[in-house]
Protein backbone atom coordinates (compact mmCIF):
# COMPACT_ATOMS: atom_id res chain seq x y z
CA UNK A 1 0.00 0.00 0.00
CA UNK A 2 2.72 2.45 1.01
CA UNK A 3 4.82 1.30 -1.94
CA UNK A 4 1.92 2.05 -4.28
CA UNK A 5 1.46 5.47 -2.72
CA UNK A 6 5.11 6.42 -3.02
CA UNK A 7 5.13 5.14 -6.61
CA UNK A 8 2.08 7.25 -7.32
CA UNK A 9 3.74 10.36 -5.91
CA UNK A 10 6.75 9.82 -8.14
CA UNK A 11 4.63 9.62 -11.32
CA UNK A 12 4.55 13.09 -12.86
CA UNK A 13 1.58 12.40 -15.09
CA UNK A 14 -0.49 11.29 -12.12
CA UNK A 15 0.41 14.49 -10.24
CA UNK A 16 -0.43 16.67 -13.25
CA UNK A 17 -3.71 14.81 -13.79
CA UNK A 18 -4.68 15.11 -10.12
CA UNK A 19 -3.83 18.82 -10.22
CA UNK A 20 -6.04 19.36 -13.28
CA UNK A 21 -8.94 17.37 -11.82
CA UNK A 22 -8.58 19.29 -8.56
CA UNK A 23 -8.74 22.67 -10.36
CA UNK A 24 -11.86 21.69 -12.33
CA UNK A 25 -13.50 20.24 -9.21
CA UNK A 26 -12.67 23.45 -7.34
CA UNK A 27 -14.45 25.51 -10.04
CA UNK A 28 -17.40 23.13 -9.91
CA UNK A 29 -17.80 23.20 -6.12
CA UNK A 30 -17.21 26.92 -5.58
CA UNK A 31 -18.90 28.09 -8.80
CA UNK A 32 -21.14 30.40 -6.78
CA UNK A 33 -18.16 32.28 -5.35
CA UNK A 34 -15.84 32.32 -8.37
CA UNK A 35 -18.29 33.18 -11.15
CA UNK A 36 -18.66 36.96 -11.61
CA UNK A 37 -22.31 36.71 -12.75
CA UNK A 38 -25.32 34.48 -12.51
CA UNK A 39 -24.98 32.06 -15.46
CA UNK A 40 -28.57 32.67 -16.58
CA UNK A 41 -28.50 36.47 -16.23
CA UNK A 42 -29.17 38.09 -19.62
CA UNK A 43 -27.79 41.49 -20.64
CA UNK A 44 -29.53 42.15 -23.91
CA UNK A 45 -27.71 45.48 -24.29
CA UNK A 46 -24.34 43.75 -24.54
CA UNK A 47 -24.68 40.59 -26.59
CA UNK A 48 -21.80 38.73 -28.25
CA UNK A 49 -19.14 41.03 -26.78
CA UNK A 50 -15.57 39.80 -27.28
CA UNK A 51 -13.27 38.89 -24.36
CA UNK A 52 -12.16 41.82 -22.16
CA UNK A 53 -8.69 42.16 -23.75
CA UNK A 54 -9.98 42.41 -27.33
CA UNK A 55 -11.34 45.54 -29.04
CA UNK A 56 -14.80 46.35 -27.73
CA UNK A 57 -14.41 44.02 -24.78
CA UNK A 58 -16.13 44.82 -21.50
CA UNK A 59 -14.08 44.28 -18.30
CA UNK A 60 -17.38 43.31 -16.67
CA UNK A 61 -17.40 40.17 -18.81
CA UNK A 62 -13.83 38.81 -18.79
CA UNK A 63 -14.47 36.24 -21.53
CA UNK A 64 -17.26 38.10 -23.32
CA UNK A 65 -20.95 37.31 -23.62
CA UNK A 66 -23.07 34.93 -25.70
CA UNK A 67 -26.01 35.59 -28.02
CA UNK A 68 -28.29 36.39 -25.06
CA UNK A 69 -25.71 38.57 -23.30
CA UNK A 70 -24.89 35.96 -20.68
CA UNK A 71 -21.42 35.99 -19.15
CA UNK A 72 -19.33 33.29 -20.87
CA UNK A 73 -16.88 32.91 -17.98
CA UNK A 74 -19.70 32.32 -15.50
CA UNK A 75 -21.34 29.82 -17.82
CA UNK A 76 -18.05 27.98 -18.27
CA UNK A 77 -17.60 27.76 -14.49
CA UNK A 78 -21.16 26.58 -13.88
CA UNK A 79 -20.78 24.25 -16.87
CA UNK A 80 -17.90 22.62 -14.99
CA UNK A 81 -20.32 21.91 -12.16
CA UNK A 82 -22.75 20.20 -14.54
CA UNK A 83 -19.94 18.22 -16.18
CA UNK A 84 -18.41 17.12 -12.88
CA UNK A 85 -21.76 16.12 -11.38
CA UNK A 86 -22.52 13.99 -14.42
CA UNK A 87 -18.99 12.54 -14.49
CA UNK A 88 -19.08 11.62 -10.81
CA UNK A 89 -22.55 10.16 -10.46
CA UNK A 90 -22.79 8.55 -13.90
CA UNK A 91 -19.48 6.75 -13.52
CA UNK A 92 -20.28 5.66 -9.97
CA UNK A 93 -23.70 4.40 -11.04
CA UNK A 94 -22.31 2.53 -14.03
CA UNK A 95 -19.54 1.17 -11.81
CA UNK A 96 -21.94 -0.16 -9.17
CA UNK A 97 -24.22 -1.96 -11.62
CA UNK A 98 -21.34 -3.20 -13.79
CA UNK A 99 -19.23 -4.37 -10.86
CA UNK A 100 -22.01 -6.25 -9.12
CA UNK A 101 -23.04 -8.06 -12.31
CA UNK A 102 -19.41 -8.74 -13.27
CA UNK A 103 -18.63 -10.31 -9.90
CA UNK A 104 -21.79 -12.41 -9.89
CA UNK A 105 -21.13 -13.47 -13.46
CA UNK A 106 -17.44 -14.25 -13.08
CA UNK A 107 -17.65 -15.79 -9.62
CA UNK A 108 -20.60 -18.11 -10.04
CA UNK A 109 -20.19 -18.88 -13.75
CA UNK A 110 -22.62 -21.33 -15.38
CA UNK A 111 -26.14 -20.24 -16.27
CA UNK A 112 -25.90 -16.90 -14.43
CA UNK A 113 -22.75 -16.08 -16.37
CA UNK A 114 -24.46 -17.04 -19.63
CA UNK A 115 -27.51 -14.85 -19.00
CA UNK A 116 -25.45 -11.82 -17.96
CA UNK A 117 -23.09 -12.38 -20.88
CA UNK A 118 -25.96 -12.40 -23.40
CA UNK A 119 -27.47 -9.31 -21.75
CA UNK A 120 -24.17 -7.49 -22.25
CA UNK A 121 -24.03 -8.71 -25.87
CA UNK A 122 -27.48 -7.37 -26.65
CA UNK A 123 -26.76 -4.11 -24.87
CA UNK A 124 -23.48 -3.60 -26.68
CA UNK A 125 -24.98 -4.27 -30.08
CA UNK A 126 -26.63 -0.88 -29.66
CA UNK A 127 -24.11 1.81 -30.62
CA UNK A 128 -23.75 3.92 -27.42
CA UNK A 129 -24.65 7.25 -29.05
CA UNK A 130 -27.81 5.79 -30.54
CA UNK A 131 -28.82 4.08 -27.32
CA UNK A 132 -28.31 7.21 -25.22
CA UNK A 133 -30.34 9.30 -27.69
CA UNK A 134 -33.19 6.78 -27.61
CA UNK A 135 -33.08 6.67 -23.81
CA UNK A 136 -33.18 10.46 -23.63
CA UNK A 137 -36.32 10.41 -25.80
CA UNK A 138 -37.87 8.12 -23.21
CA UNK A 139 -36.51 9.83 -20.11
CA UNK A 140 -36.85 13.49 -21.10
CA UNK A 141 -34.28 16.22 -20.41
CA UNK A 142 -32.68 17.01 -17.05
CA UNK A 143 -29.45 16.48 -15.13
CA UNK A 144 -30.66 13.33 -13.36
CA UNK A 145 -31.97 11.90 -16.65
CA UNK A 146 -28.60 12.44 -18.35
CA UNK A 147 -26.89 10.62 -15.47
CA UNK A 148 -29.40 7.78 -15.63
CA UNK A 149 -29.02 7.46 -19.41
CA UNK A 150 -25.22 7.25 -19.15
CA UNK A 151 -25.45 4.67 -16.34
CA UNK A 152 -27.86 2.57 -18.42
CA UNK A 153 -25.59 2.73 -21.46
CA UNK A 154 -22.15 2.33 -19.90
CA UNK A 155 -22.50 -0.32 -17.18
CA UNK A 156 -21.54 -2.87 -19.84
CA UNK A 157 -18.01 -1.44 -20.09
CA UNK A 158 -17.40 -2.29 -16.43
CA UNK A 159 -19.19 -5.61 -16.61
CA UNK A 160 -17.29 -7.01 -19.57
CA UNK A 161 -13.79 -5.97 -18.47
CA UNK A 162 -14.20 -6.85 -14.79
CA UNK A 163 -15.76 -10.23 -15.48
CA UNK A 164 -12.62 -11.52 -17.14
CA UNK A 165 -10.58 -10.15 -14.22
CA UNK A 166 -12.85 -11.94 -11.73
CA UNK A 167 -12.45 -15.16 -13.73
CA UNK A 168 -8.68 -14.93 -13.23
CA UNK A 169 -8.85 -13.98 -9.54
CA UNK A 170 -11.34 -16.75 -8.76
CA UNK A 171 -8.80 -19.43 -9.70
CA UNK A 172 -6.27 -18.25 -7.11
CA UNK A 173 -5.61 -20.53 -4.16
CA UNK A 174 -6.46 -17.91 -1.57
CA UNK A 175 -10.02 -17.73 -2.86
CA UNK A 176 -10.39 -21.49 -2.48
CA UNK A 177 -8.76 -21.21 0.95
CA UNK A 178 -11.31 -18.59 2.01
CA UNK A 179 -14.12 -20.96 1.02
CA UNK A 180 -12.47 -23.79 2.97
CA UNK A 181 -12.25 -21.53 6.01
CA UNK A 182 -16.02 -21.30 5.90
CA UNK A 183 -16.47 -17.91 4.20
CA UNK A 184 -19.87 -17.53 2.56
CA UNK A 185 -19.97 -16.65 -1.14
CA UNK A 186 -20.79 -13.06 -0.22
CA UNK A 187 -17.82 -12.85 2.17
CA UNK A 188 -15.49 -14.41 -0.38
CA UNK A 189 -16.53 -11.94 -3.06
CA UNK A 190 -16.37 -8.83 -0.89
CA UNK A 191 -13.23 -9.71 1.11
CA UNK A 192 -11.13 -11.69 -1.36
CA UNK A 193 -12.20 -11.09 -4.95
CA UNK A 194 -13.24 -7.43 -4.89
CA UNK A 195 -9.97 -6.12 -3.37
CA UNK A 196 -8.06 -7.92 -6.12
CA UNK A 197 -10.11 -6.31 -8.89
CA UNK A 198 -10.05 -2.88 -7.23
CA UNK A 199 -7.02 -1.46 -9.12
CA UNK A 200 -8.67 -2.18 -12.46
CA UNK A 201 -11.96 -0.82 -11.14
CA UNK A 202 -10.42 2.52 -10.11
CA UNK A 203 -8.77 2.92 -13.50
CA UNK A 204 -12.04 2.16 -15.29
CA UNK A 205 -13.92 4.71 -13.19
CA UNK A 206 -11.57 7.50 -14.12
CA UNK A 207 -11.77 6.59 -17.82
CA UNK A 208 -15.56 6.40 -17.54
CA UNK A 209 -15.61 9.93 -16.11
CA UNK A 210 -13.95 11.16 -19.31
CA UNK A 211 -16.57 9.34 -21.38
CA UNK A 212 -19.41 10.75 -19.26
CA UNK A 213 -18.18 14.32 -19.76
CA UNK A 214 -18.19 13.83 -23.53
CA UNK A 215 -21.60 12.15 -23.58
CA UNK A 216 -23.11 14.93 -21.49
CA UNK A 217 -21.63 17.52 -23.88
CA UNK A 218 -22.98 15.61 -26.88
CA UNK A 219 -26.48 15.29 -25.44
CA UNK A 220 -26.53 18.97 -24.47
CA UNK A 221 -25.24 19.89 -27.92
CA UNK A 222 -28.07 18.01 -29.60
CA UNK A 223 -30.52 19.65 -27.19
CA UNK A 224 -31.39 16.51 -25.26
CA UNK A 225 -29.16 17.11 -22.27
CA UNK A 226 -29.53 18.77 -18.92
CA UNK A 227 -32.26 21.23 -19.95
CA UNK A 228 -32.14 24.86 -21.01
CA UNK A 229 -32.01 26.38 -17.52
CA UNK A 230 -28.79 24.61 -16.58
CA UNK A 231 -25.52 25.83 -18.12
CA UNK A 232 -23.64 23.10 -19.96
CA UNK A 233 -20.64 23.18 -22.27
CA UNK A 234 -22.47 21.31 -25.03
CA UNK A 235 -25.24 23.92 -25.06
CA UNK A 236 -22.68 26.73 -25.23
CA UNK A 237 -21.13 25.06 -28.26
CA UNK A 238 -24.50 24.62 -29.99
CA UNK A 239 -25.28 28.29 -29.36
CA UNK A 240 -21.86 29.52 -30.49
CA UNK A 241 -21.98 27.33 -33.64
CA UNK A 242 -24.65 29.69 -34.99
CA UNK A 243 -22.63 32.83 -34.34
CA UNK A 244 -19.22 31.42 -35.17
CA UNK A 245 -18.30 34.35 -37.45
CA UNK A 246 -19.32 37.05 -34.94
CA UNK A 247 -17.79 35.49 -31.87
CA UNK A 248 -15.29 32.68 -32.47
CA UNK A 249 -14.03 32.65 -28.88
CA UNK A 250 -17.46 31.51 -27.64
CA UNK A 251 -17.02 28.32 -29.65
CA UNK A 252 -13.41 27.72 -28.70
CA UNK A 253 -13.72 28.22 -24.93
CA UNK A 254 -16.20 25.40 -24.16
CA UNK A 255 -14.34 23.11 -26.59
CA UNK A 256 -11.18 23.83 -24.65
CA UNK A 257 -12.95 23.23 -21.34
CA UNK A 258 -14.19 19.82 -22.49
CA UNK A 259 -10.78 18.93 -23.89
CA UNK A 260 -9.07 19.88 -20.64
CA UNK A 261 -11.49 17.88 -18.50
CA UNK A 262 -11.39 14.80 -20.70
CA UNK A 263 -7.59 14.91 -20.91
CA UNK A 264 -7.36 15.22 -17.13
CA UNK A 265 -9.50 12.10 -16.57
CA UNK A 266 -7.74 10.11 -19.29
CA UNK A 267 -4.33 11.07 -17.94
CA UNK A 268 -5.50 10.12 -14.46
CA UNK A 269 -6.72 6.76 -15.74
CA UNK A 270 -3.46 6.15 -17.57
CA UNK A 271 -1.37 7.17 -14.57
CA UNK A 272 -3.44 5.02 -12.20
CA UNK A 273 -3.16 2.05 -14.55
CA UNK A 274 0.62 2.36 -14.55
CA UNK A 275 0.96 2.75 -10.77
CA UNK A 276 -1.71 0.28 -9.65
CA UNK A 277 -0.93 -2.53 -12.07
CA UNK A 278 2.09 -4.33 -10.64
CA UNK A 279 3.09 -5.83 -14.00
CA UNK A 280 3.04 -2.47 -15.75
CA UNK A 281 4.67 -0.64 -12.85
CA UNK A 282 7.80 -2.74 -13.23
CA UNK A 283 8.36 -2.34 -16.97
CA UNK A 284 6.97 1.19 -17.15
CA UNK A 285 5.15 0.56 -20.40
Amino acid sequence: MMATLSRALRSPRLIIALGMVFCIAFCAIFAGWIAPHDPGEQNLLSILTPPAWADGGDPNFPLGTDSLGRCVLSRLIYGARTAMLVALFASLGAMIIGTILAHISGYFGGAVDWVIGRLVDVWMSFPPVILSLILMVGLGVGLDRVILAIVLVDWTRFCRVLRSEVLIVRRHDYVAAARLLGFTHWQTITREVLPATLPLLITLVSLEMAIAVVVEAILSFVGLGVGADQPAWGQMIADARQYVYQSPSNLLLPIFAIFLTVTAFNLLGDGLRRTLDVRLAVTGR
Binding site: A210, T263, N266
Partner: protein, 338 residues
Amino acid sequence: MIAVVLKLIVHRLLAAVPILLVVSALLFCVLRLLPVDPAAMSLPPNATIVEIEAKRRDMGLDRPLPQQYLIWLRGALHGDFGRSIALRREAGSLVAATLPATIQLAVAAMVIAAALGVGGGLLLFHLRDTLFETIADLTSIALLSIPEFLWGLILLFVFGVVLDLLPFTGAVAPGLPQPQITGFLLLDSLLAGRFDVFVSACRHLILPAAALGLAFSPAIMRVLRSSLFDVYHEDYIAQARLRGLSESRILLRHALKNAALPTLTLAGVQFGILFSGTLLVEVIYSYPGMGNLMVDAVRNVDLPLIQAIGLTYCVVVLLINTAVDSLYVVLNPKLRVQ
Protein backbone atom coordinates in the same frame (compact mmCIF):
# COMPACT_ATOMS: atom_id res chain seq x y z
CA MET B 1 -10.39 -22.06 -46.35
CA ILE B 2 -13.33 -20.49 -48.16
CA ALA B 3 -15.59 -23.16 -46.68
CA VAL B 4 -14.38 -22.32 -43.17
CA VAL B 5 -14.94 -18.62 -43.67
CA LEU B 6 -18.37 -19.13 -45.21
CA LYS B 7 -19.33 -21.39 -42.34
CA LEU B 8 -18.18 -18.76 -39.89
CA ILE B 9 -20.13 -16.02 -41.63
CA VAL B 10 -23.32 -18.12 -41.66
CA HIS B 11 -22.76 -19.03 -38.02
CA ARG B 12 -22.26 -15.41 -37.02
CA LEU B 13 -25.27 -14.20 -38.97
CA LEU B 14 -27.44 -16.87 -37.33
CA ALA B 15 -26.13 -15.80 -33.92
CA ALA B 16 -27.04 -12.21 -34.78
CA VAL B 17 -30.70 -13.07 -35.41
CA PRO B 18 -31.73 -13.56 -31.75
CA ILE B 19 -29.71 -10.48 -30.76
CA LEU B 20 -31.56 -8.43 -33.36
CA LEU B 21 -34.92 -9.78 -32.18
CA VAL B 22 -34.16 -8.81 -28.58
CA VAL B 23 -32.77 -5.45 -29.64
CA SER B 24 -35.85 -4.65 -31.70
CA ALA B 25 -38.14 -5.75 -28.85
CA LEU B 26 -36.20 -3.56 -26.40
CA LEU B 27 -36.33 -0.62 -28.79
CA PHE B 28 -40.05 -1.14 -29.21
CA CYS B 29 -40.73 -1.31 -25.45
CA VAL B 30 -38.60 1.73 -24.54
CA LEU B 31 -40.35 3.83 -27.13
CA ARG B 32 -43.84 2.57 -26.23
CA LEU B 33 -43.32 3.57 -22.60
CA LEU B 34 -43.23 7.21 -23.69
CA PRO B 35 -46.12 9.41 -22.62
CA VAL B 36 -46.87 10.37 -26.22
CA ASP B 37 -49.69 9.25 -28.47
CA PRO B 38 -48.54 8.49 -32.01
CA ALA B 39 -52.16 8.45 -33.18
CA ALA B 40 -52.88 11.97 -31.98
CA MET B 41 -49.55 13.13 -33.38
CA SER B 42 -50.26 11.83 -36.86
CA LEU B 43 -53.60 13.67 -37.08
CA PRO B 44 -54.18 17.40 -37.46
CA PRO B 45 -54.55 19.27 -34.13
CA ASN B 46 -58.29 19.81 -34.62
CA ALA B 47 -59.05 16.06 -34.80
CA THR B 48 -61.86 14.92 -32.54
CA ILE B 49 -61.44 12.31 -29.83
CA VAL B 50 -63.51 9.89 -31.93
CA GLU B 51 -61.17 10.36 -34.87
CA ILE B 52 -58.12 9.81 -32.65
CA GLU B 53 -59.70 6.63 -31.24
CA ALA B 54 -60.38 5.38 -34.77
CA LYS B 55 -56.80 6.13 -35.72
CA ARG B 56 -55.53 4.33 -32.62
CA ARG B 57 -57.47 1.23 -33.59
CA ASP B 58 -56.24 1.62 -37.15
CA MET B 59 -52.61 1.76 -35.97
CA GLY B 60 -53.16 -1.18 -33.62
CA LEU B 61 -52.37 0.90 -30.53
CA ASP B 62 -55.36 -0.46 -28.60
CA ARG B 63 -53.92 -3.98 -28.61
CA PRO B 64 -51.59 -5.44 -25.97
CA LEU B 65 -47.90 -4.56 -26.29
CA PRO B 66 -46.60 -8.00 -27.41
CA GLN B 67 -49.20 -8.09 -30.16
CA GLN B 68 -48.24 -4.58 -31.27
CA TYR B 69 -44.63 -5.71 -31.42
CA LEU B 70 -45.50 -8.72 -33.56
CA ILE B 71 -47.46 -6.52 -35.95
CA TRP B 72 -44.50 -4.18 -36.25
CA LEU B 73 -42.07 -7.09 -36.63
CA ARG B 74 -44.14 -8.63 -39.42
CA GLY B 75 -44.12 -5.30 -41.23
CA ALA B 76 -40.40 -4.83 -40.66
CA LEU B 77 -39.64 -8.25 -42.12
CA HIS B 78 -41.51 -7.21 -45.24
CA GLY B 79 -39.53 -3.99 -45.36
CA ASP B 80 -42.41 -1.91 -43.97
CA PHE B 81 -41.24 0.13 -40.97
CA GLY B 82 -44.34 2.28 -40.76
CA ARG B 83 -44.75 5.90 -41.75
CA SER B 84 -42.77 8.78 -40.32
CA ILE B 85 -45.20 10.93 -38.34
CA ALA B 86 -43.40 14.23 -38.92
CA LEU B 87 -42.24 13.74 -42.52
CA ARG B 88 -45.29 11.73 -43.67
CA ARG B 89 -43.18 9.32 -45.73
CA GLU B 90 -42.31 5.64 -45.39
CA ALA B 91 -39.68 5.34 -42.64
CA GLY B 92 -37.97 2.58 -44.64
CA SER B 93 -37.53 4.71 -47.74
CA LEU B 94 -36.25 7.65 -45.64
CA VAL B 95 -33.59 5.37 -44.17
CA ALA B 96 -32.72 3.94 -47.59
CA ALA B 97 -32.31 7.44 -48.97
CA THR B 98 -29.87 8.58 -46.27
CA LEU B 99 -27.93 5.37 -45.52
CA PRO B 100 -25.57 5.59 -48.55
CA ALA B 101 -24.38 9.07 -47.50
CA THR B 102 -23.58 7.77 -44.03
CA ILE B 103 -21.77 4.69 -45.37
CA GLN B 104 -19.76 6.91 -47.71
CA LEU B 105 -18.74 9.12 -44.79
CA ALA B 106 -17.85 6.15 -42.56
CA VAL B 107 -15.70 4.49 -45.21
CA ALA B 108 -13.84 7.71 -46.00
CA ALA B 109 -13.27 8.24 -42.27
CA MET B 110 -12.01 4.69 -41.81
CA VAL B 111 -9.47 5.12 -44.62
CA ILE B 112 -8.18 8.31 -42.97
CA ALA B 113 -8.13 6.68 -39.52
CA ALA B 114 -6.20 3.66 -40.81
CA ALA B 115 -3.65 5.78 -42.68
CA LEU B 116 -3.06 8.08 -39.72
CA GLY B 117 -3.13 5.21 -37.25
CA VAL B 118 -0.53 3.08 -39.03
CA GLY B 119 1.68 6.06 -39.83
CA GLY B 120 1.45 7.39 -36.30
CA GLY B 121 1.98 3.97 -34.74
CA LEU B 122 5.17 3.44 -36.74
CA LEU B 123 6.35 6.92 -35.79
CA LEU B 124 5.60 6.35 -32.08
CA PHE B 125 7.52 3.08 -32.20
CA HIS B 126 10.38 4.66 -34.11
CA LEU B 127 10.72 7.29 -31.36
CA ARG B 128 11.07 4.67 -28.59
CA ASP B 129 13.89 5.22 -26.11
CA THR B 130 14.43 8.75 -27.34
CA LEU B 131 13.75 12.08 -25.70
CA PHE B 132 10.62 12.39 -27.82
CA GLU B 133 9.06 9.20 -26.48
CA THR B 134 7.33 10.78 -23.50
CA ILE B 135 6.26 13.79 -25.53
CA ALA B 136 4.87 11.60 -28.32
CA ASP B 137 3.22 9.32 -25.77
CA LEU B 138 1.55 12.21 -23.96
CA THR B 139 0.50 13.74 -27.28
CA SER B 140 -1.20 10.52 -28.29
CA ILE B 141 -3.07 10.42 -24.96
CA ALA B 142 -4.11 14.03 -25.46
CA LEU B 143 -5.26 13.20 -29.00
CA LEU B 144 -7.16 10.21 -27.64
CA SER B 145 -8.99 12.69 -25.40
CA ILE B 146 -10.50 14.53 -28.35
CA PRO B 147 -13.70 12.80 -29.40
CA GLU B 148 -15.06 13.09 -32.95
CA PHE B 149 -17.52 15.66 -31.67
CA LEU B 150 -14.71 18.08 -30.73
CA TRP B 151 -12.59 17.28 -33.80
CA GLY B 152 -15.60 18.15 -35.92
CA LEU B 153 -15.93 21.56 -34.28
CA ILE B 154 -12.19 22.26 -34.25
CA LEU B 155 -11.74 21.40 -37.94
CA LEU B 156 -14.87 23.36 -38.83
CA PHE B 157 -13.44 26.34 -37.02
CA VAL B 158 -9.89 26.16 -38.35
CA PHE B 159 -10.40 25.08 -41.96
CA GLY B 160 -13.93 26.31 -42.51
CA VAL B 161 -14.13 29.61 -40.65
CA VAL B 162 -10.60 30.94 -40.06
CA LEU B 163 -8.77 29.66 -43.15
CA ASP B 164 -11.93 29.46 -45.29
CA LEU B 165 -10.42 26.55 -47.23
CA LEU B 166 -13.19 23.99 -47.22
CA PRO B 167 -17.01 24.04 -47.12
CA PHE B 168 -18.62 22.81 -43.92
CA THR B 169 -22.36 22.54 -44.60
CA GLY B 170 -24.17 19.86 -46.58
CA ALA B 171 -22.90 17.17 -48.94
CA VAL B 172 -22.47 19.28 -52.05
CA ALA B 173 -22.46 22.98 -52.95
CA PRO B 174 -25.98 24.45 -53.09
CA GLY B 175 -27.37 24.69 -56.61
CA LEU B 176 -25.52 21.67 -57.96
CA PRO B 177 -27.66 18.70 -59.01
CA GLN B 178 -27.37 15.45 -57.06
CA PRO B 179 -27.66 12.54 -59.48
CA GLN B 180 -29.49 9.54 -57.99
CA ILE B 181 -28.37 6.21 -59.40
CA THR B 182 -26.94 4.08 -56.61
CA GLY B 183 -27.45 6.60 -53.80
CA PHE B 184 -23.71 7.02 -53.26
CA LEU B 185 -23.14 10.61 -54.32
CA LEU B 186 -19.43 10.26 -55.19
CA LEU B 187 -20.14 7.27 -57.44
CA ASP B 188 -23.31 8.71 -58.94
CA SER B 189 -21.70 12.01 -59.89
CA LEU B 190 -19.00 10.12 -61.80
CA LEU B 191 -21.56 7.82 -63.44
CA ALA B 192 -23.57 10.86 -64.51
CA GLY B 193 -20.38 12.41 -65.88
CA ARG B 194 -20.70 15.45 -63.60
CA PHE B 195 -17.11 15.99 -62.55
CA ASP B 196 -17.90 19.35 -60.92
CA VAL B 197 -20.40 17.63 -58.60
CA PHE B 198 -17.81 14.97 -57.78
CA VAL B 199 -15.19 17.57 -56.82
CA SER B 200 -17.68 19.52 -54.74
CA ALA B 201 -18.86 16.34 -52.96
CA CYS B 202 -15.24 15.39 -52.23
CA ARG B 203 -14.51 18.82 -50.78
CA HIS B 204 -17.62 18.58 -48.59
CA LEU B 205 -16.58 15.14 -47.42
CA ILE B 206 -13.04 16.07 -46.32
CA LEU B 207 -13.79 17.84 -43.03
CA PRO B 208 -16.41 15.43 -41.61
CA ALA B 209 -14.36 12.38 -42.65
CA ALA B 210 -11.15 13.87 -41.26
CA ALA B 211 -12.89 14.68 -37.95
CA LEU B 212 -13.99 11.07 -37.55
CA GLY B 213 -10.70 9.69 -38.80
CA LEU B 214 -8.68 11.82 -36.39
CA ALA B 215 -10.83 10.69 -33.48
CA PHE B 216 -10.27 7.01 -34.20
CA SER B 217 -6.63 7.00 -35.29
CA PRO B 218 -4.93 7.37 -31.85
CA ALA B 219 -6.38 4.06 -30.63
CA ILE B 220 -5.01 2.28 -33.72
CA MET B 221 -1.71 4.11 -33.23
CA ARG B 222 -1.30 2.96 -29.66
CA VAL B 223 -2.26 -0.66 -30.29
CA LEU B 224 0.10 -0.88 -33.24
CA ARG B 225 2.89 0.56 -31.11
CA SER B 226 2.36 -1.85 -28.23
CA SER B 227 2.03 -4.88 -30.53
CA LEU B 228 5.26 -3.82 -32.24
CA PHE B 229 6.87 -3.81 -28.79
CA ASP B 230 5.58 -7.36 -28.23
CA VAL B 231 6.77 -8.56 -31.62
CA TYR B 232 10.26 -7.15 -31.06
CA HIS B 233 10.78 -9.59 -28.19
CA GLU B 234 10.40 -12.52 -30.60
CA ASP B 235 13.37 -14.58 -31.67
CA TYR B 236 12.83 -14.02 -35.37
CA ILE B 237 13.51 -10.30 -34.94
CA ALA B 238 16.84 -11.06 -33.27
CA GLN B 239 17.52 -13.58 -36.00
CA ALA B 240 16.71 -11.05 -38.73
CA ARG B 241 19.09 -8.61 -37.06
CA LEU B 242 21.83 -11.27 -36.96
CA ARG B 243 21.30 -11.82 -40.67
CA GLY B 244 22.30 -8.20 -41.06
CA LEU B 245 18.96 -6.81 -42.26
CA SER B 246 18.49 -3.07 -41.92
CA GLU B 247 16.30 -1.78 -39.06
CA SER B 248 13.72 -0.34 -41.42
CA ARG B 249 13.49 -3.64 -43.31
CA ILE B 250 13.03 -5.51 -40.02
CA LEU B 251 10.33 -3.08 -38.97
CA LEU B 252 8.39 -2.96 -42.21
CA ARG B 253 8.83 -6.50 -43.55
CA HIS B 254 9.01 -8.63 -40.41
CA ALA B 255 7.56 -6.83 -37.43
CA LEU B 256 4.72 -4.89 -39.05
CA LYS B 257 3.25 -8.00 -40.66
CA ASN B 258 2.99 -9.77 -37.31
CA ALA B 259 1.87 -6.74 -35.38
CA ALA B 260 -0.87 -6.12 -37.94
CA LEU B 261 -3.24 -8.77 -36.58
CA PRO B 262 -4.10 -7.27 -33.17
CA THR B 263 -4.20 -3.86 -34.83
CA LEU B 264 -6.66 -5.11 -37.39
CA THR B 265 -8.89 -6.60 -34.70
CA LEU B 266 -9.03 -3.26 -32.95
CA ALA B 267 -9.56 -1.39 -36.22
CA GLY B 268 -12.53 -3.66 -36.90
CA VAL B 269 -14.09 -2.96 -33.52
CA GLN B 270 -13.35 0.72 -34.08
CA PHE B 271 -15.12 0.65 -37.44
CA GLY B 272 -18.32 -0.44 -35.71
CA ILE B 273 -18.03 2.43 -33.23
CA LEU B 274 -16.95 4.83 -35.94
CA PHE B 275 -20.09 4.05 -37.90
CA SER B 276 -22.29 5.30 -35.07
CA GLY B 277 -19.89 8.23 -34.58
CA THR B 278 -21.02 9.54 -37.95
CA LEU B 279 -24.20 10.73 -36.23
CA LEU B 280 -22.60 13.67 -34.44
CA VAL B 281 -20.31 14.63 -37.27
CA GLU B 282 -23.33 14.70 -39.56
CA VAL B 283 -25.16 17.00 -37.16
CA ILE B 284 -22.18 19.36 -36.86
CA TYR B 285 -21.68 19.57 -40.64
CA SER B 286 -25.41 19.39 -41.56
CA TYR B 287 -24.46 16.37 -43.65
CA PRO B 288 -27.60 14.77 -45.10
CA GLY B 289 -27.10 11.25 -43.70
CA MET B 290 -28.92 8.92 -41.36
CA GLY B 291 -27.52 10.64 -38.24
CA ASN B 292 -29.16 13.95 -39.04
CA LEU B 293 -32.39 12.15 -39.81
CA MET B 294 -32.14 10.40 -36.42
CA VAL B 295 -31.60 13.61 -34.47
CA ASP B 296 -34.54 15.24 -36.24
CA ALA B 297 -36.68 12.19 -35.51
CA VAL B 298 -35.64 12.29 -31.86
CA ARG B 299 -36.49 15.98 -31.58
CA ASN B 300 -39.91 15.37 -33.16
CA VAL B 301 -40.49 12.20 -31.09
CA ASP B 302 -41.14 10.49 -34.43
CA LEU B 303 -41.42 6.93 -33.08
CA PRO B 304 -41.63 4.86 -36.30
CA LEU B 305 -38.63 6.68 -37.74
CA ILE B 306 -36.56 6.37 -34.52
CA GLN B 307 -37.29 2.63 -34.48
CA ALA B 308 -36.33 2.16 -38.11
CA ILE B 309 -33.09 4.15 -37.82
CA GLY B 310 -32.10 2.65 -34.47
CA LEU B 311 -32.53 -0.84 -35.86
CA THR B 312 -30.59 0.06 -39.02
CA TYR B 313 -27.62 1.25 -36.96
CA CYS B 314 -27.65 -2.03 -35.01
CA VAL B 315 -27.86 -4.14 -38.18
CA VAL B 316 -25.00 -2.28 -39.85
CA VAL B 317 -22.77 -2.55 -36.76
CA LEU B 318 -23.53 -6.28 -36.46
CA LEU B 319 -22.73 -6.77 -40.16
CA ILE B 320 -19.44 -4.88 -39.78
CA ASN B 321 -18.46 -7.03 -36.79
CA THR B 322 -19.29 -10.22 -38.72
CA ALA B 323 -17.22 -9.04 -41.66
CA VAL B 324 -14.26 -8.21 -39.39
CA ASP B 325 -14.44 -11.62 -37.71
CA SER B 326 -14.35 -13.36 -41.08
CA LEU B 327 -11.46 -11.23 -42.25
CA TYR B 328 -9.64 -12.14 -39.09
CA VAL B 329 -9.99 -15.84 -39.88
CA VAL B 330 -8.78 -15.26 -43.43
CA LEU B 331 -5.65 -13.49 -42.16
CA ASN B 332 -4.84 -15.64 -39.13
CA PRO B 333 -3.90 -19.19 -40.18
CA LYS B 334 -4.13 -20.41 -36.57
CA LEU B 335 -7.90 -19.88 -36.55
CA ARG B 336 -8.52 -21.86 -39.73
CA VAL B 337 -8.21 -25.21 -37.97
CA GLN B 338 -11.68 -26.55 -37.32
